[in-house]
Amino acid sequence: MTSTDVAFWLCASVSVVAGALVFYVDSMARATYALAVSFVAVGVALLLMGQAYMGVIVILMMVMEMAVMAVYMVMFMGMNPALMPMSMVHSHRSSVAAAIGTFVLLGAGAVLVPWPTRRGAPPADVTAALGEAIMESHMIVMITMGAVMVATIVAGVALSSHRTRYDRLGDDLDRRPADDPQPGGVGR
């Protein structure tokens, strides 16, 4: 049992326990940050696997997501009692069954599959090797895909907004300044 093994088991248990705590704590803020702790533990586990870049990116992204979730939590959940008993589950029995089933399946796969033994040593740049293994010749597609996804998200939000640019700028698109309930800072 090397120190890496100990650290891994620690991260694994923190991750599972924190994930379970999301459904037991009494407040949305605690649930959000219990989830953040769970994700950070997964990030640390990735660091232990030698995937430094993946690990730190998981930590960064997950903390930021949890912080943004705090915004959505208030926007869409309305009643948001602090330190009040609340129930976070729906269709209790079927979801417990699905969760246990999935865990057993994946766990069985992780434990029972005959993993090959390592041949040779890990390459010098683990992140580059991982990237190449996943994306191979489609690397440039993947890179542009990121920008395309951002554009798609922005376009989707713009399309789904119930105020169109005609509401903002008038029928001839010439009203300046724009008629916004909350004006921004640039004067568009």
Binding site: A36, V56, A67, V68, V74, A82, G184, G185
Partner: protein, 309 residues
């Protein structure tokens, strides 16, 4: 994490951080004293007197406060600053030498999102809550430009290692040919340290925002933590844009200290001259004006990097 400095350097680094933070706070207070018509020297000792005052004050508790989240967040601000400084190379090595230093610094300043919001939330008070959300709104506005600004020196140096980036600036500091990235980075530093003008989450027009229910040691930790984050952000800017420890005569660590101090002072002085920026203004500014400018800056840097091989 090989070649890091040994752990005995932790204490001097933390002490240096505290010293610079106190000096910067002192200068800010000295200007305040001059505004009030008192001599500047009386202002310089104000941070020490405030520290004494807050150490004597009893911490407060509010009704139904989420004590776990509130206290853990208010104590986390200073350690966050120390962790950021740990990645800054003082000479050849940092406290924590990591090939992905830039990404770690970025991850740490994102943790500030969580910490500041939790300080606002934890107190169960309207002004704290509103302050926390004002901070988040601001953060959504400055964070993406900050991330793109961090990409510029990385592209120019071809590495995510802060020591490597500092070394590549032998000759021409990055601040000279990527000024937009530097300015955006500084703006982001003011943002995550909640210093004026990026302080709507803690400003007077909200009764102190996230600070409104803090007293005693907790208040000291958060107020000091704001300065510490400002200094830590400036320290991280030194290898990224200001040439690291390069400079004649003095040893590298002295140059890093000097540059950190100068940049922090500059940020505090410039910040005082601007009114508190309101989140609805900053959001549009950040996404519609600053972000395209920084992406354009990245394009220029990338072109130059490719052209010079």
């Amino acid at each position: 994490m090989t070649d890091s400095l040994s752990l005995i350097f932790v204490a001097p680094v933390v002490a240096a951080l505290a010293l610079v933070a106190l000096s910067v706070a002192g200068v800010s207070a000295a200007l305040e004293a001059r505004d009030a018509g008192r001599p500047i020297s009386s202002g310089m000792t104000i941070p020490l007197r405030e520290t004494a005052r807050l150490l004597r004050q009893r911490p407060r508790r509010t009704v139904s406060a989420d004590r776990l989240l509130w206290r853990s967040a208010s104590t986390a601000v200073i350690p966050l600053a120390v962790l950021i400084v740990a990645f800054v190379p003082l000479g050849a090595h940092a406290l924590v030498d990591h090939p992905l230093g830039v990404v770690w610094v970025n991850a740490l300043d994102v943790v500030a999102w969580a910490v500041m919001w939790l300080i606002g939330w934890g107190a169960n008070s309207v002004t704290g809550l509103v302050g926390g959300y004002r901070f988040l709104a601001l953060a959504v506005g400055y964070e993406l430009p900050l991330m793109f600004a961090l990409t510029a020196p990385v592209i120019a140096a071809g590495s995510l290692d802060l020591a490597q980036i500092a070394a590549t600036q032998d000759g021409l500091w990055f601040v000279v040919w990527m000024p937009v990235a530097f300015a955006t980075y500084c703006w982001g530093v003011l943002g995550f340290s909640l210093r004026p003008p990026m302080d709507p989450g803690a400003a007077t027009d909200l009764g102190g925002g996230i600070l409104s229910e803090l007293a005693g040691v907790d208040r000291l930790l958060v107020l000091g933590g704001r300065y510490a984050l400002l200094v830590a952000g400036s320290a991280a800017a030194v290898p990224l844009f200001l040439g690291g420890g390069a400079g004649p005569t003095l040893p590298a660590w002295a140059w890093v200290l000097a540059k950190t101090l100068l940049l922090s002072l500059l940020l505090v002085l410039a910040g005082r001259r601007l009114p508190t920026l309101r989140p609805d203004k900053v959001l549009e500014l950040g996404w519609v004006v600053v972000l395209p400018l920084v992406v354009a800056q990245d394009l220029v840097v990338a072109t130059i990097a490719v052209a010079t091989g």
